[in-house]
């Protein structure tokens, strides 16, 4: 059974919000990982734990916290509303929910990649005239980019399948906030199991492609290190 136009629209919407969410967290996640790489001790482990919370909390709990943060009666929500921006029950809410849920995956992958870079090389860059920032962009990042990219793809894959936080913050509004994950749930609830299966198949294909890419990047990284 071929997907209909309506179903393609859901697929496109999902890809778009996942890509947007990933784009939002990429600079933030790389910065967070770079700062964590340079820090040690209790502060670091506290931060690392806090950043990883979305991995283990029930997504609905994260969604609820986000909903409270962005609700019209909250400080942030009313400030955004004054600017004419509505996050809750809007596509922007989907972006934020998926971004928050996939953020830890990106940070953790980037952190591992940065820590694999020989600190002696960074030190040498500094003796050759680089400040810490320049050494990061000229040595650390070029040597770690595969790992960062693998983490980005992983975060994107996670964003594709996000359900709990999204449904709490953005609701399940067909044509407005409904992603693939939400549509599958909606279809099974409304007796359209066949359509749900088609969407599930598409989701599986997308996720497979993304994970395959991330794995391939990881494998090449290992080969390079072995060389």
């Amino acid at each position: 059974m071929m997907p209909t136009r309506e179903e393609w629209a859901v697929v496109l919407f999902t890809l778009r919000v996942a890509a947007l969410g990933t784009a939002v967290i990429l600079p933030l996640g790389v910065t967070a990982a770079a700062l964590l790489t340079r820090s040690r001790g209790a502060a670091r482990s506290l931060l690392e734990t806090a950043l990883s919370l979305p991995l283990v909390l029930p997504p609905t709990a994260v969604g609820l916290l986000l909903l409270d943060a962005f609700a019209r009666r909250s400080a942030l929500g009313s400030w955004l509303a004054a600017l004419g921006i509505q996050v809750a029950f809007d596509w922007k809410g989907v972006v934020i929910a998926t971004a928050v849920m996939s953020f830890p995956l990106l940070v953790r992958s980037a952190l591992v990649a940065f820590e694999e870079v020989d600190p002696r090389l960074v030190g040498l860059a500094r003796t050759l005239g680089c400040g810490p920032g320049e050494a990061f962009f000229r040595v650390t990042l070029p040597l770690a980019w595969r790992g960062v990219l693998a983490g980005t793809v992983l975060a994107f894959a996670r964003a594709l399948g996000e359900f709990g936080a999204t449904v709490m913050l953005a609701g399940n509004i067909p044509g407005r906030t409904q992603t693939l994950a939400l549509a599958i749930f909606h279809d099974t609830q409304t007796g359209r199991d066949d359509r749900a299966r088609v969407l599930a198949g598409i989701t599986a294909l997308l996720a497979f492609a993304a994970l395959w890419t991330a794995e391939a990047l990881g494998r090449r990284r290992q080969r390079r290190r072995a060389a």
Partner: protein
Amino acid sequence: MISLDVELPLARFPLRVAARLSAGVTAVMGPSGAGKTSLLDAIAGLRQVARGRIAIEEDALVDTAAGLSLAPARRRVGYVPQEAGLFPHLSARDNVLFGARGRAAEAAHAIEALEIGHLLDRYPSSLSGGEKQRVALARALAIRPRLLLLDEPLAALDVGLRERIVPYLLRIRDEWSTPMLYVTHNVGEALALAGEVLLLEEGKVEAQGPPLSLLSTPGLSREARGGIENLLAGRVAAHDAQGGVTRVRLAGGLALSVPLSVDLALEAPITVAIRAEDVLVSTEPVRGLSARNVYEGVVRGIERGAADAALRCLVHPELPEWVARLTPAAVAELGVVPGSAVWLAVKSHSVQVVSTGTGRPGAARV
């Protein structure tokens, strides 16, 4: 003049080094873990100094009393680590130019002097160990450093390759006149390159002085002097092609045979090394032995260790005492005590030529 007054905690002991080093090459020697690399790191700014002052001429890089610690980028100290430390994602050219920042002439000079022009488009993974070291040297020189730090730059290379890199180091020493701190375990390198040796042991300066006299001082640890106890200076006296030996005239007129090396110029000054375990000891005059070098001497002292004993013997008043390493059983069997007459025998193949010339072997071949 480099002034070092450095104090920083290491894992097993604190590093406390106070020394003034003349311009030129200083070989930093000492057992593994003595704090040599930590000292270089502190000078380069890669490790924080707990207390002290580091200065090149009058310019302080670190002065904890004044709250001064220049960022590594502002020290202009070139660093070449043991494994070259090239950036693997950059070509040799981009490695050399990494810190050059518009000093293209400096980079070009370094590329020419180290003869790496033909390697510039290659990546570090395709360079041999010696080529990597030359690129790393050029990279350090391209920042026009006020001081060069070399951390066992030849340790990872095999012996033949080492000999081919040493002339480049000599060229840098003579053409750039940049002061160098050169960490090495190799007596030959120290003798060939350095005007001075700084010996570290457990984070402290054990000794400082001219290489030959310092490295042949009795009482310095074996490891500190590169595992070679007997260092003797002499001149090339004759080549005996038929006999397969080159004869060296030691101080006091003693003759010593070394494996034939016809490329040594006659009358050239030469330093040879003999390991203490390669010296055979007899209490009677030696006859019918294949060893080419036999000397009569007197035992001056015996130092007993757990597994071996070191015999210090006077062979000639103008030569440093020879050290022979024996097992405690052999010492007991021979019955030697201080004052005993002994005959020392050394095969010519146990004699290693560690350097030709004293200080300026400008004639070294590439």
